[in-house]
Amino acid sequence: MPLLSLERVSRDFDVSRPWLNRMLEHEPRRVLRAVDGVSFEVESGETLALVGESGCGKSTVARLIVGLYAPTEGRVVFHGRRLQMIFQDPYASLNPRWRVRDIVGEPIRFLGTGARVEELLVQVGLSADDGDKYPHEFSGGQRQRISIARALGGEPDFLVCDEPTSALDVSVQAQILNLMSDLQSRLGLTYLFISHNLAVVSQVADRVGVMYLGRMVELSPAGMLFSRPRHPYTRMLLDAVPDLGMSGKSRTPVRGEVPNPLAPPSGCPFHPRCPHANDRCRRELPEFIDGVACHAVAERRI
């Protein structure tokens, strides 16, 4: 049995203007569908990564899983013991007026905290005395360690990590990614890892889901996704990653921008930017079959 499964989950947000404006200007209600019919499962012990550009719905999926939002349609089923979330901004997610001891101890305050807090701090590579300090005394990387210590307090088996290293410098990012992988093997954790950075994802993920305009467009084992991407959007994303090797390979220039989610294109949401789009793509929404949602792939055109 998978640890977590999402069954055709959708989430709408009402972004209408205030009632009076709507009445005066005869505007209808406006609804933004941030996540649209997303299904996937996460097996115990694996890292599933979700990637995509801003506005693709990946963070909304994270919030649906931990229950910060309720799904408009579909359901989220969790079979594990406990889940926790790690946020992107280690500056905003720690209360500046609390000592680290209280921040880390708060979620487990009914379990008797003292020694446990120190153990948690040591586990994430901080020292036991750091509990007496305030968040501002720490660098960004150390703060993210504090967030991780706090998340581990209740002995979760599932961690939802929303861009956990995006606010950090690369050398610190490497420290945090290595720490997360150590903790995973030591504690048998399962991760849902959300990131816009494909290189980071390729270092941590077992499987990768690519999202575009609220839909899952491809979901494959990481090795396959990075060596043989199938969906044209996945190919485009991979092409856009700057080439550190300086191999001099020519990059396909990416065309256009993500469309306005309030007025998504007809048919396949990617068709206006897709080099392989035809009439069917403009008309008909592709089904998610065998790990990919693309007419061109299904018809073996690419």
Binding site: E53, G140, G141, D169, L177, A199, Q203, P242
Partner: protein, 318 residues
């Protein structure tokens, strides 16, 4: 084109003076893109701000000199510097909204910059503004001319800022994290644009970023900064494929690359020192895997290392 010698920037504080930059020297030739890379707190943005005279008080240039086309610009009075910015130096910041006035249409803002700096009438300026918008790749430039900044997406706004920075044909373009706030697909478009413009116009470009990938794709030479100093300076190819300073070696190893399987990254333990606690000797010594006695007491300057330069005693002639 740009020549910076021994630049030193200080922030006098109540409890003593913080030195943000110390002994920073480099130059950029016409048509060349120099990448300045480093982690937060390395001093890369301060370097850019010092050159254009926009240091936040109490920050001030405490030593050294900055020359643009041979002429000293670090000691110019504020209003002369303001004329210089926009006319001979174009600036692009990370957040396009800091460079755009929300109350004016983008067309008017570009037009105004042109009229202020170039001997052109209104009609001519409008023609030029439209040409610039087309050049930076804004579709339907005529229609977009009358739009306000909030009506543009992030990528389009950054294009407008680039058009604005180029309006008066600057000789030097300073771009501070121009692509950091953008999605990867848009990032690639903006990088290509910057590269093309530098090549076509023969402007010198100083590209400040924390992203080595962006530098690899755009720059000719790169300066790696750490704790307010340049620790390595060389051609991009050399610095990426044969880094000479242990910090650059660690930095290159910690950058995740697309890999077919999961793996561990090289990590540099510790963090960049704060400005009030810069270690004696080489500032990198507490984190350096190859430190020896001399590193603890004596601060290295840039020394020749291969075809690059590295501020590291490993490269001192014995």
């Amino acid at each position: 084109m740009l020549d910076v010698r021994d630049l030193r920037v200080e922030f006098p504080m109540r409890r003593g003076t913080l030195t943000a930059l110390d002994g920073v020297s480099f130059s950029i030739a016409p048509g060349e893109v120099l990448g300045v890379v480093g982690e937060s707190g390395a001093g890369k943005s301060i370097t850019g701000l010092a050159i254009i005279g926009l240091l936040e008080p109490p920050g001030r240039i405490a030593g050294g000199e900055v020359r643009l086309e041979g002429e000293r610009i670090d000691n110019l009075p504020a209003d002369e510097l303001r004329k210089l910015r926009g006319r001979r130096i174009g600036v692009i910041f990370q957040d396009p909204l800091t460079s755009l006035n929300p109350l004016y249409t983008i067309g008017r803002q570009i037009e105004e910059t042109i009229v202020t700096h170039l001997p052109m009438g209104e009609t001519q300026a409008r023609e030029r503004a439209l040409a610039l918008l087309r050049e930076v790749g804004i579709p339907g430039a005529e229609a977009r001319y009358e739009h306000y900044p909030h009506q543009f997406s992030g990528g389009m706004r950054q294009r407008v800022v680039i058009a604005l920075a180029l309006a008066a044909e600057p000789r030097l373009l300073i771009a501070d994290e121009p692509t950091t706030a953008l999605d990867v697909s848009i990032q690639a478009q903006i990088i290509a644009l910057l590269k093309r413009l530098a090549a076509e116009r023969g402007a010198a470009v100083m590209l400040i970023t924390h992203d080595m990938g962006v530098i690899a794709e755009t720059a000719h030479r790169v300066a790696v900064m750490y704790a307010g100093r340049i620790v390595e300076l060389g051609s991009v190819r050399e610095v990426i494929h044969a880094p000479r300073h242990p910090y650059t070696v660690g930095l290159m190893g910690s950058i995740p690359r697309i890999a077919a399987r999961k793996g561990r990254l090289v990590q540099i333990d510790g963090a960049m020192p704060r400005l009030n606690a810069i270690p004696r000797g080489c500032a990198f010594n507490p984190r350096c895997p190859r430190r020896f006695a001399r590193c603890l007491v004596e601060r290295p300057d840039l020394l020749p290392a291969g075809t690059s330069f590295a501020a590291c005693w490993l490269h001192a002639a014995a």
